[in-house]
């Protein structure tokens, strides 16, 4: 054991001097992750509001203008154009200037005052589902509120008290409680997931690079010898600086997400921090696996990189896994990111007890098997000249 620690430390020191020697290491371990973090902090600092829409007001009365200004006052919508006909609106849409068109029909005010049913048409572009959803929610709410207001007035005119009128207009009232993300803030789960994506990309690439360059520049034997011939010591010493830097980055990530962006933290911070460490380690295991199997730096980088960026889609954060084909649902488990984000949602957003996150943590740990399985081959790569110097 003592020799193991001694050997690991020797490799660790050798690794540190390599890192200082090659600036690309520092770029990968600190520079680019931080740059990307800053980028995402700025992107998600603002919330989505004032999405431009057009109004086709064929009534042009005080009442129709009142409805228009009510919609303009919502958080998401901004009435940017008043148009004369539908074609004009469609043209604006094709030019990318508006997301939706609200149509108020002729005789709107007359019908409302004359106790005749009327209607509002909302043409909402489906090209951007996020925008579509936000506008739909706000415009629908405004029209419903508007409609209820008219009802109450009508019922009041019939001699009902305000309370009676309310009971009549809304026989079933509902109280809505939004669990876990009370502000329905899009960035609360997008921000941590994108930051975690950056971490996993750099963990995989740096791991592959750290081992791959030993092969490419024929220093693999020297690396193994520094570890006293023990591949385990050599690998541990090599991985340690990367683990430390990436783990430090997860802490920076927590700081950005919870303190700067103000996302809720409803559960155990310790659990999330431990999960962050396991998350980093699992992606390092994948990196070790890729470079050992391909024994070629470039191919392993292309494969590892290509695999890394896939994780987001298959985690089901935006398009739920539940809605995917069965085969794809199974495929989503080859990404530790899927488990990590489940833990994030459970712990940080839902405030679930730790017990609910433990299985996912266990699955993430299973990825270590990939690294362990290829260790004998990695040792061979270090000893056999024929694997070295591939440009």
């Amino acid at each position: 054991m003592r020799t193991f620690i001694h050997n690991t430390y020797a490799v660790f020191r050798r690794e540190l001097s390599r890192i200082i020697d090659k600036k690309i290491y520092l770029v990968m371990m600190f520079g680019l992750p931080l740059v990307s973090f800053v980028f995402f902090s700025f992107i998600f600092k603002n919330s989505i509001d004032s999405l431009p829409i057009a109004v086709l007001d064929q009534d042009n009365t005080p009442l129709s203008r009142q409805l228009t200004s009510m919609i303009d006052e919502t958080a998401s919508a901004l009435v940017a154009y008043e148009i004369q006909d539908m074609e004009e609106g469609m043209q604006l849409m094709r030019e990318g200037k508006i997301y939706a068109i609200l149509q108020i029909p002729a005789f709107f005010e007359k019908d409302v005052n004359g106790n005749t049913q009327t209607h509002i048409e909302f043409y909402n572009s489906g090209c951007n589902i996020t925008v579509n959803g936000l506008l739909e929610k706000d415009v629908q709410t405004v029209v419903k509120t508007f409609s209820t207001g008219i009802q109450l007035k009508l019922l009041g005119a019939k001699g009902l008290t305000a309370r009676q009128a309310m009971a009549q207009a809304m026989p079933i009232s509902f109280e809505r409680h939004i669990l876990f993300n009370p502000y329905i803030n899009y960035s609360y789960y997008l921000a941590p997931s994108f930051l975690a994506m950056m971490l996993l990309i750099f963990s995989v690439l740096t791991t592959v690079y750290a081992i791959g360059t030993e092969l490419k520049f024929s220093t693999a034997k020297e690396w193994l010898d520094t570890g006293g011939g023990s591949i385990l010591a050599a690998l541990t010493g090599k991985m340690l600086p990367i683990t430390i830097s990436m783990f430090a980055m997860t802490l920076v990530m927590h700081w950005i997400v919870f303190d700067i962006l103000g996302a809720p933290m409803n559960g155990s911070s310790a659990m999330l921090i431990i999960s962050g460490l396991v998350f980093i380690l699992s992606y390092q295991a994948i990196g070790i696996f890729a470079i050992t199997v391909f024994d070629n730096l470039r191919l392993a980088l292309s494969f590892g990189g290509g695999y890394s960026v896939l994780a987001f889609t298959f985690s089901g954060l935006t398009f739920p896994t539940m809605a995917m084909y069965m085969g794809i649902q199974i495929f989503s488990y080859v990404f530790p990111f899927t488990f990590y984000m489940r833990i994030y949602v459970d712990i940080a957003m839902r405030g679930a007890p730790i017990a609910y996150a433990l299985p996912d943590l266990g699955y993430m740990m299973l990825f270590q098997v990939l690294a362990i399985a290829v260790i004998p081959r990695l040792r061979r790569l270090c000893l056999d000249k024929k694997y070295w110097g591939k440009l």
Partner: protein, 419 residues
């Protein structure tokens, strides 16, 4: 006469650059994976992930404390819609919460014990709903379904009460719902997720694979010393224009194959909307690909090793997708950040491409984007020429220096030998 000589010399040099470029690409698995196969693999995998397009049948839980025919009817009407269904009837909030943490349900409706009594008595019944907003699409589907059902049931009760009071049917309708709200989703009527994100992803993949792939080959040129090996006999160094031209033609030819696959076969297989006129799409793709390739060549001169381009560029794929304003609208991000986004071809191309394919926008509708792309193509064409010119000069200086060092060393050796 001199001009003609130049042209034939340049053509020869460009042809030799192209030959070498193809060889460099097709003998390197890492490059082929990124530059050629990535687009097939990614478009297929992403396409499959979003294959179902819409989320249906999200399980929800109900706590029914009323246990009356009215509350049963309400529960049944939750099941009638396509987006959610009642998977569990929980006894109390504790049980519902547990189901919730277990991810068995994604929303809870609480029906109080006085539900029927209030309704029959002409009073107001209060229903509580708890929606999970940790997954957005789930939230949307569940919320829509429950609120829609409650509103409808409420309107029915109100209507019946009015009719019972002896009010005629059109009047009762007008009181129940003075303003009907009708919403129409244009271009993507069922709000398919794949239809929404795939055009953007495809355009981003095209740019990113080009930038990384060209960057890798840039490293190959340096590592294999192709700058020297490809120099025509009797010349000191290669000329700038043929190198850039030869590279551009090579990558254009590869893009012609990959983008043709995407825009025809892939689009057809996954049934994405294809409302754009082919000429509009070509008019958009041409400046886009040129701008990407020229940007790629410019950046590639910075890479002295083949592995560097992926290390430096891979992460940028997600930020660039965001900068185009697709998953997070551009109106929401700081203006200066949106401005930075405009220096990347993808930002313009993604926005224009979505409008062309989904809305059937024509050439005039996307003219601002096409102009911007041509502008970028010209700018990056210029930077590609300058960067390549400087690199060729640098490589030449390096070679002369090495030669001097070598000859000095040889001279020293011979001196020592003669001694």
């Amino acid at each position: 006469m001199k001009l003609k000589q130049y042209i034939s010399l340049y053509a020869k040099e460009a042809a030799s650059v192209m030959r070498n470029e193809y060889r460099a690409i097709f003998t390197d698995g890492g490059v082929m994976l990124i530059l050629i196969f990535a687009i097939f693999i990614y478009s297929t995998l992403y396409g499959l992930a979003y294959g179902n397009q819409v989320l249906r049948n999200v399980p929800i839980g109900v706590i029914d404390n009323s246990k009356t025919s009215s509350s049963r009817a309400l529960i049944d009407s939750f099941n009638a819609g396509p987006n959610a269904y009642v998977a569990y009837e929980a006894a109390d909030m504790e049980e519902a919460k547990k189901l919730f943490y277990d991810r068995d349900i994604y929303g809870i409706v609480y029906i109080p014990s006085d539900y029927e009594k209030q309704l029959v008595g002409g009073l107001q019944a209060h229903v509580s709903l708890y929606c999970d907003a940790s997954y957005f699409l789930m939230y949307r589907q569940v919320f829509q379904e429950i609120v829609g059902t409650l509103t409808q049931t409420g309107a029915m009760v109100e209507f019946q009460r009015l009719v019972a009071q002896g009010i005629n049917i059109p009047q009762a309708q007008a009181v129940t719902q003075p303003v009907i709200y009708q919403s129409h989703n244009l271009f993507n009527p069922y709000l398919g997720y794949g239809t929404f994100v795939m055009p953007a992803i495809i355009m981003a993949i095209i740019q990113q694979t080009l930038l990384i792939g060209i960057g890798m080959i840039g490293g190959t040129w340096h590592e294999f010393d192709l700058y020297r090996k490809l120099t025509p006999v009797g010349e000191e160094r290669m000329s700038t224009i043929p190198v850039v031209l030869g590279k551009t033609l090579t990558y254009m030819s590869i893009c012609a194959v990959t983008t043709a696959y995407i825009l025809t076969i892939h689009y057809h297989l996954y049934k994405y909307p294809m409302n754009g006129h082919p000429m509009t799409i070509i008019g958009l793709m041409l400046p886009y690909l040129l701008a990407c390739i020229f940007l790629g060549i410019t950046v590639s001169t910075l890479f002295t090793r083949r592995e560097n381009s992926i290390l430096w560029l891979l992460w940028s794929s997600i930020p660039l997708l965001l900068l185009s304003g697709v998953s997070y609208p551009g109106d929401a991000m700081p203006q200066w950040l949106f401005g930075i986004g405009n220096i990347f071809p993808s930002s313009h191309a993604i926005n224009a491409f979505i409008r062309v394919q989904d809305m059937g926008a024509g050439f005039e509708d996307i003219l601002p984007e096409i102009t911007a792309l041509w502008r970028l193509a010209v700018i990056y064409g210029g930077t590609a020429l300058i960067a390549m010119h400087l690199t060729l000069n640098k490589e030449l200086r390096l070679r002369i220096k090495n030669k001097v060092v070598k000859t000095v060393a040889i001279r020293k050796q011979t001196k020592r030998a003669t001694r």
